[in-house]
Symmetry: D3
Subunit: 305 residues, 6 copies
């Protein structure tokens, strides 16, 4: 049988059977923490870093899943290896982890029930759909800041990758009014740049890479990869509050994210960034990235490998 | 067969088969809008009001579910009638509606995929677990304000009942450090009283019922029921910003909510409210409520009917 | 000669000669307060109310223009009467007042120079360009909330009509990315609905007219006209904080403003409001308005008088 | 003829004829971006930096003026050279650039009209009035923080030098109630120090120069000059949030600004800063500045050259 | 002996011996709640209302002083009667209550020590120094809004009269820079008008009395007196957010406060309010007040009784 | 006589006679600035730093106490030396300084009276109660973030150690609902970590010590000691905004404070920090501290010296 396997709360099951019951807190509350990584050449990318962040999120939620970091890594490798055998040789897999507090007894949302619940732990994979992102590399991404704002850390800290994402859904609607292909870049309550729904946002100014501070964003593993490459390349990487004015006047801008590593942003709210094409710092960084993972990540996305 | 039925995206299926696939936006984004109502004497309570609010939420999300208000009401009645036949004569049903934007293709969260998705629409029931709430009526509820704050309307408007509720999960943890039986009462970013996770919060002062403004809270159907009873009883009902000081010094306080209608709150952050027992306004209102629905709602919760 | 006259700091001059010197504070600081009214049947509409508001603004700025309210009214009538003689019989005039702190000596912006400056006072007229607004009446207005927010009252109080309007310029750019014909509706820093650049924004819910509170908006003279009509018609008019959710779910929405009195809003951020056409309350109000001013204001805008 | 020339939208005209029509967006909206530089020994100071910032502002406004950076620099030099010939040998010129979106057709402020407007571009000069500032150097400046706050970047980003400055006008009134010679130092909405109406504000603590962060202030060219001198002099220059407490307890404080380079601040809200006289770091920096521009800038302001 | 008596934690002692030890929480923390009332014709004014508010404050602090409301009233009357015998026949007494959590053991501020502490309860009187306020009645009060803001209710609720008043001290300094006789009127963090250090602030517009909302202010007993008089006189009394613009353009403004009942405010930040003299509504209200207490309160302050 | 001496406004008096009169601004307003230091081996610790900070606070309050820094240091040494002779050989003294604006004339709080007041200056000592803190060293401290927030710097700057601490009192109540032995860690209005009532809060991540920024906290002398030790030990010390998520996921956390130097924090809101025991960085720092002061500070607190 060539159906991929899903790890769900202790069992490996075929994907077609994988789902949550309607009383699972992941459905009732969206109180789900999650991770996503991928393979390069079918090897999982920085799986330790993703699992570490998952356990930081679990600590923040005070949730014990009954598995150690090492357990989760081994299960991740197992499921990825098995499912990778089902896809084309040059394809890659994405791997998702998610954890919810578990299933409520029938009456949804009762606080009383939480103490005795058993967390739902799930890991599943999917073939990387590179064709979705090819255009990002060809023309650059258009980011738009809608009126909807990012949830502040005193409500839910964005340092935990989580799935209470209604504000992203609402924000995307607004963004797509202007440009159906644009990507939402949320401002925080003070009007600072934060992140996109699936990526960190970075700009280049005077040869330095600038990032919003960690106050309002996910500490992305791909962002960490960029930081490490910057160190190796002797490029300064700084964190500071950034506003739309900074982005519009940046020399370059790009996203860092697990699925497609780094993609150039060439417009914000309809204003061209830099000269409107991927810039030299971007090229250096993505080049170094490709070397690190042993394949040309741009060509892979463009289907030119 | 005596298994209850669940309506799921066009089909009636046995509850044991009801669930969402792991790529459903309800799991991936928590971008779910929901309603909950119940029966009194097995008749659905204000079902039109709940369906109206559901459609207001769908409008805010710009989501078309391909069903009219009337369709949803009829389906609600059908499923409730069928499932009510399976429970004891003096039991009641809760009815939950929820809608998600639908299933993503495998790669989760892609904005690009949203346009062609078909919303997931679900309705399911459960027997009312009155025993969970009996203590609320006997000793009154203790509400606690943790440090976690309510998500502001510029991120997600609480006027839409929704399931991006991670902040409630985090807040409940804090609350239960102080008192495992207490209920979380969230403050907004300015320190105003908002609501509990499943109920509106109301106080009584000088013979008037005071509510937080609609800016930060769900316009509850049970709250509307309280307003209507207040009008009939000649009790003034006012909306204004309230803070902890107001609650600590209220004459009475109570929650209004679908499952148990109204329950007295007798403490906030360990401070006794009024004389620590349900007060005269509360008794008048719950008495009038009981008359309206044709059964003594307090006795029903206490198992004394 | 048939050139209209402009009142500029004590003199009546032909419009082609009217302008400000580059050191005028109106150019250097945008520290200008302004009013705009119009004629109905060539009679100035509520000129006393506009001049009263101008003097409230001058008081807030602590500026003495050396003219009494009565002086300004008389000059307004004089210039309007003279210029009205130059336009077609069925045309109408708009009348603008504006006041700046006056001309700086050459070095711009010096605080030291302010004490001895003489305010620049200007009044000028223009023929009402009804054709610009006809489409608003035919299809209804689309309002959009961009990410740019309204300047808060602790910086500049919007109760003073003023010309430090860079934020409106920036906001309009964002709005026009989505829809070049849409009108910007600014949110305040907390995400509440405020006003458009040239009009007050009102919604109808359950037969009542609801307005944002005066905290964040201009107390419009046309809005006052709507209030007075509401009283006469027995329609309740309420002020409260409103958010996008309220507008999307309103029964009706409309703008009130000097140039075209009242125009229906039928969409917000791409979401249809009510049934997408002007509603019954709107029709009652604009009908009453037409009676008050002795002409059908809708037909006038549509060129059908 | 000895009247200075003004560049106005493509033409060089005598200053007495330079002005804007009443429908220019610079008058109607205050939607004007501006720059100011000056000469030292009749040579323009860092003209490239000022023109670069002008073009960053134009990009933020998405305004195309039909001139390249080089064009603007050449026009700047031309007008400065011509006008410098009209003033005394030891005098200096200030040069102002400003750009507005252009003239509206008669009905002011219509969004519809913006697309076809042609920006108004103006450059004009004035003799530097050094006598206005001499007292600043003799006794030091008294800065005062009024209750009016700086417009936040989510409304208008202060990184764009712009002329929607009503809040400065209102703030100056408050400041001058306490001391008619004092200069306004605005706080932001969180109570952080920002800038004065025409200068950046800097303090010295423990031998380091501290600046508010760029979030809330203009990135001044003179501030940049200070940074470069600090690097040359081995003085650390840091950006951080500063409050009144920091200023009152600073060792030194000063303004950096085009007209008079750097001037000492010796009091804030009536509290003496340091020992109330210009300090050693200030002297080093202004000394280095004088060397860089080839003349003693303090003596020049004091008329002692 | 003619020394007044002070009630201090259970004892009546001569005033010269009354004080707190240096480890009292009133000195160490400023965690003191307080009340102040006065006599009219040597009878205590609304003593029940003041004691009620004291007990609301104690409830908010969760402090049990071991005395009932009735106990405190009787002690208040006793001390007032005794001390009133020591002053001139036409003099009046002020009466202060204050309560602190009590004395720490030597190490100040230890949270651990709080549980076993015994509250310090103090009541003391002083002759009313009417001459301090005579000028307020003669020329009207000048109120000034400094940059320091009121502490928000999420830190300390101003509905509790309390003595953590450092912000008032700092604010007064700023105010007195402009006018040593002016009274501080604090803005809240959003720029709304709140209250003065010792009085509620009210304005009159269009024949109605307007007050800031109770969110940010003490619910003053004298303010309550004004409300009751307004009801009797048929004058509408409304609560709403007010800003400086509202005050500058009010018809009248005044303070309500225990010591001098009501005093006119005739300037805000140097701007004249109304025509700069006490207005007709003020006169009606203070006239009614005088009737209620059986003496002309204006003449009493002016020393003309 | 073996009673310790207190310095009070110019006199040395026995502690039993030391107190403030009820009209002292320290009681009436809580407008008190304070310092606390202690002895190590009966030598005052960093007395110059404490006196410097006291004078910075006095400058912020614009208060002249008629004593020089040197005067205060000498008086500090004198009183400490004298009182140290009264305690056991191995005991230590705490030394408190506090200054209030002085005594009001009878009518409390009148702004008018402030100009002529003479500040109250007090210095007093107490034996260090090490036993109170022993448990902190044995099991680590549990910090809790209640809903009450820290007063923001635009009201009172926490860089001044002051005694308007009602919010701490209210916050401690909430904290002790969860755990009577826990210590309050206040969040600021944006949800950032600030400080505890008597200590700075620091965390360790990846071998670096991280502190909240100075915006919201006291620049503690013990914190400065930690910084200096970090420099000597080659441990990086950084300031940045920190949230609960950072603390829950820190490797270590600790308090720095005068009384007990440094104590480990092992839980936040019930979540274990690191492995729940004092970590290696903590041990290095406290070890270095002990060397600097010539005694084992941990053993001293544990009574094991």
């Amino acid at each position: 049988m060539n159906e991929p396997l899903v790890y769900l709360s202790g069992k490996l099951i075929p994907e077609s059977q994988a789902g949550l019951k309607v009383y699972d807190a992941g459905i009732v509350l969206g109180a789900t923490t999650t991770e996503m990584t991928r393979t390069f050449g079918k090897e999982l990318f920085r799986i330790e870093d993703h699992v570490d962040r998952l356990f930081r999120s679990l600590k923040y939620m005070d949730l014990d899943i009954g598995l150690s970091r090492q357990d989760v890594i081994e299960l991740s490798v197992e499921i990825t290896t098995k499912n990778a055998a089902l896809i084309a040789e040059d394809a890659e897999l994405g791997l998702i982890h998610f954890v919810t507090p578990g299933e409520f007894s029938a009456y949804a949302g009762s606080a009383a029930g939480q103490q005795s619940m058993k967390p739902t732990v799930c890991m599943h994979t999917f073939p990387m759909p590179f064709q979705l992102w090819a255009e990002y590399f060809r023309t650059g991404i258009h980011v738009i800041t809608p009126s909807t704002r990012h949830v502040p850390p005193q409500c839910v800290d964005p340092k935990m990758k989580n799935r209470s994402r209604m504000h992203w859904y609402l924000a995307d609607r607004e963004t797509h009014l202007s440009d159906p292909k644009a990507i939402t870049l949320l401002l925080d309550l003070e009007g600072n740049i934060t992140e996109t729904s699936g990526a960190n946002f970075l700009i280049v100014r005077d040869g330095k890479v600038l990032s919003p501070t960690l106050r309002n964003i996910l500490p992305g593993v791909s962002r960490q990869q960029v930081i490490e490459i910057c160190i190796e390349e002797g490029i300064e990487f700084l964190e500071q509050d950034l506003q739309i004015h900074d982005v519009a006047n940046a020399d370059e801008a790009f996203l860092s994210t697990t699925p497609y590593c780094m993609a150039p942003c060439t417009r914000i709210n309809g204003i061209q960034i830099g000269n409107g094409t991927p810039g030299p710092i971007y090229h250096r960084l993505i080049g170094a990235w490709s070397k690190k993972v042993g394949l040309d990540v741009v060509k892979q996305v463009l289907g030119e490998l």
